[in-house]
């Protein structure tokens, strides 16, 4: 029953063969298209010195090498005009898939429906137990309306650093209360050396916020109502004002930028300086001459300091949220080199990373991790969680004005009332 191979049969068979091959071709193309890895754009702020971005890029390369289906493209974003950078990208529909950024960027963009909440990642980590690496207070800094708007990764905490040489030369012991601090600052102020140096920019307002949360208060009450004129915040501002009136604060502080004030402290022109303790690892820091004070006890016995939590967020414009979340988890678990090699200026949020010898063998960083991080409070203190208005509070500059006026010697009552009225305006929107 063999069919006779006629020319018409042959041509029919050839046609069928061609049809079969052709039917597989689109599949082959589709298969090839699927083999192309998904591209994820990661915008990372510059969190450390020059080497930071190179280390971060290396880390991204490591992730890419471990993946067949995801390719992350790293872009280092400078802090200058960072907010405009993100807003312009979002408005033009070219937002990254994932980014690090300002402390309250995620919650503000979330309120504008531009952030993809990371709830499913948090849930996944909760299930496998890895979420316990984060403290509840760290997770609270990214919780808004029962959603996690980002994943925390860094503690930008504030602690008082001091010059051992200046205190020793004046026979002053490291203070541990406000009263002792004021006395010490006054005693060392002479011959062009001041007790405290600060600046009229972010560091100035962080000093005010630190004093307020140190005294059990903050910019807000627990109901998120402005509380700059509240009893505890008022006492705190009065304390800073008393340092100014004693002449213990470098009079240049109101006009200083952060860099000016840090340089002044490093040159030994003031005994105390409020900053992220990681600054002691910078190249120009005289490491052997700098110590860290114990958390100061306020007049009511309270402890507390300002902690600006750094976080990493996923954007709603991302076409690949699942893959982005996968990268986010990997990044969060493998980011130790950002500190050990990239010398990032903050401290990790993950407890497991803080156990690394890099932190444990550095007395100042270890002390910070053990004593300051547990008492850190956000800009929203004494309220819990985060809220979008904090991004405006952080970037507006009215708190800088508050600090500048107090550094200029003005009685704190007037500046505090103005700041309170302004804050009410922000919160009413």
């Amino acid at each position: 029953m063999k069919a006779k191979l006629t020319s018409s049969n042959r041509s029919r068979r050839q046609f069928l063969k061609a049809l079969i091959v052709a039917s597989f071709l689109p599949g082959a193309f589709v298969g090839a298209a699927h083999a192309q890895p998904v591209e994820i754009n990661f915008w990372d702020m510059i969190w450390g010195p020059a080497e930071y971005a190179a280390v971060a890029q290396k880390l991204v390369d490591k992730f890419n090498a471990s993946q067949n289906d995801i390719k992350v493209v790293y872009r280092s974003v400078p802090w200058d005009s960072w907010y405009q950078t993100y807003v312009t990208a979002i408005a033009s529909g070219s937002a990254p898939d994932i980014s690090t950024g300002g402390s309250f960027q995620a919650v503000q963009f979330y309120s504008m429906d531009e952030i993809y909440p990371v709830d499913e990642l948090i849930e996944e980590m909760k299930k496998d137990g890895s979420l316990s690496d984060f403290s509840q207070s760290a997770l609270d800094t990214v919780r808004y309306h029962d959603h996690y708007v980002a994943l925390p990764w860094g503690n930008d905490i504030r602690a008082y650093l001091y010059r051992k040489d200046i205190l020793a030369a004046n026979g002053v012991a490291a203070p541990s209360t406000w009263e002792e601090f004021r006395a010490a600052a006054k005693k060392v102020t002479k011959n062009g050396v001041f007790g405290l140096v600060c600046s009229g920019d972010q560091n100035g307002f962080q000093l005010m916020v630190t004093a307020a949360v140190n005294n059990g208060g903050g910019l807000f009450d627990p109901d998120r109502k402005p509380a700059i004129t509240g009893e505890r915040a008022r006492e705190a501002l009065q304390f800073v004002s008393s340092l100014v009136k004693d002449g213990s604060v470098n009079p240049a502080s109101a006009g200083y930028s952060y860099d000016d004030s840090a340089a002044s402290f490093m040159r030994g022109e003031s005994a105390f300086f409020l900053d992220n303790p990681n600054v002691t690892n910078s190249d120009n820091a005289p490491k052997d001459k700098i110590g860290i004070l114990p958390p100061l006890k306020g007049p009511h016995g309270d402890l507390g300091t300002f902690n600006g939590a750094n976080n990493i967020m996923v954007y709603k414009q991302s076409k690949h949220p699942k893959e982005t979340l996968k990268f986010l988890r990997w990044w969060s678990e493998n980011q130790l080199p950002l500190w050990t090699e990239g010398h990032a200026g903050n401290l990790p949020v993950r407890a497991s990373l803080l156990k690394d010898p890099y932190f444990q063998n550095n007395p100042i960083l270890k002390y910070t991790a053990d004593n300051y991080i547990p008492i850190g409070k956000s800009l929203g203190a004494a309220a819990s969680g985060t809220f979008p208005q904090l991004n405006v509070v952080d970037g507006d500059g009215f708190l800088n004005s508050l600090a500048q006026r107090i550094f200029q010697g003005e009685d704190p009552q007037g500046p505090a009332q103005d700041a309170q009225a302004y804050l009410k305006g922000i919160m009413s929107k």
Binding site: G255, V392, F407
Partner: protein, 307 residues
């Protein structure tokens, strides 16, 4: 009725005909692309910005119509009035300061003396230096008790002055920097105007027995008056719109002392995410400058006609 319309059309055509020359048509066709481009890159953004003043737009959302609400809010905003008064002081001081300095140096450079060319080049330096470099350099010179200015004060036995920690002193420094940056332009333009003055006028004045001062007041000044007015208007606009100097020196501080209208608009837009108010501040600034410009033009035109 019909005939009157036809008659009217005829009259209109008769009037319009001389205008519709082939040259004019060619010019219109050639100008059209440029006009279209100008409309797209200038008129559209201005119109769009003006519309924003009637909305509560943010950087990410177009917002809703609020009528004259933003203008009302602005009138009640204390910091707006402060920035308006600082802008006025800043502009007036700079215009007067750099005009007097520029004119003095232009009169000096008009004379022939050894090294005049080199001197002229050196005097142009502040204008050539980028504003970032200029302001940061000034900042170093006045920032604290170890800065150059305070070392000089200490050499004369004075106490240090914390220029950038005191609002009044910071205003003085902002004005000084602006004068330092602006005077070369004023000097160059006035020098060109001085060189264009007819020499025979000075000879006539000399024959009439005029002193140098009289010749300056009655010959030089009237001759450079037109250029001076244009320069002062330009300098006023540039100073009111100056963002770099107050921002780079003190971020508009301390305690908003050097916050001018442009910095105020910037704060509204980018720090408070309030594009509607930012646009309103910008347009109020524009209206003020336009009113000032029209006033000056009307006054000078009136004087010109009276002559």
């Amino acid at each position: 009725m019909n005939s009157s319309i036809t008659g009217g059309t005829r009259v209109w055509r008769a009037r319009a005909k001389p205008l519709m020359t082939p040259e004019l048509t060619t010019s219109a066709v050639l100008l059209f692309p440029s006009l279209l481009l100008l409309a797209v890159v200038i008129a559209y953004p201005i119109a769009q910005g003006f519309l924003y003043t009637f909305t509560d737009s943010s950087l990410l959302r177009p917002g809703s119509f609020v009528g004259m609400g933003n203008y009302g809010r602005l009138l009640q905003d204390r910091s707006f009035w402060h920035s308006l008064s600082f802008s006025a002081i800043f502009a007036l001081s700079n215009v007067v300061g750099c005009y007097l300095l520029g004119l003095g140096l232009a009169l000096m450079l008009q004379r022939d003396f050894p090294g005049r060319g080199l001197f002229r080049v050196l005097l142009l330096t502040p204008w050539i230096v980028p504003s970032l470099v200029a302001v940061v350099s000034w900042r170093w010179m006045v920032s604290d008790n170890g800065a150059l200015a305070n070392k000089i004060i200490a050499a004369f036995g004075g106490d240090p002055i914390y220029f950038l920690s005191n609002g009044n002193w910071t205003i003085v420094i902002v004005i000084l920097i602006k004068i330092w940056v602006s005077f070369p332009f004023m000097m160059l333009s006035l020098l060109a105007a001085l060189q264009a003055v007819d020499r025979s006028l000075y000879e006539a004045a000399e024959i009439d027995g005029a002193t140098r001062w009289q010749a300056f007041m009655h010959v030089t000044m009237p001759e450079i008056r037109g250029v001076s007015i244009v320069l002062c208007i330009l300098m006023t606009i540039w100073t009111v719109n100056d963002f770099d100097t107050p921002w780079l020196l003190a971020r508009g501080g301390p305690a908003n002392a050097t916050e001018n209208l442009v910095v105020h608009a910037y704060r509204y837009t980018f720090a408070r995410n309030d594009v509607g108010m930012g646009a309103t501040v910008s347009f109020v600034t524009l209206f003020i400058l336009m009113a000032l410009f029209l006033l000056v033009m009307r006054l000078t035109k009136g004087e010109h006609n009276a002559r």
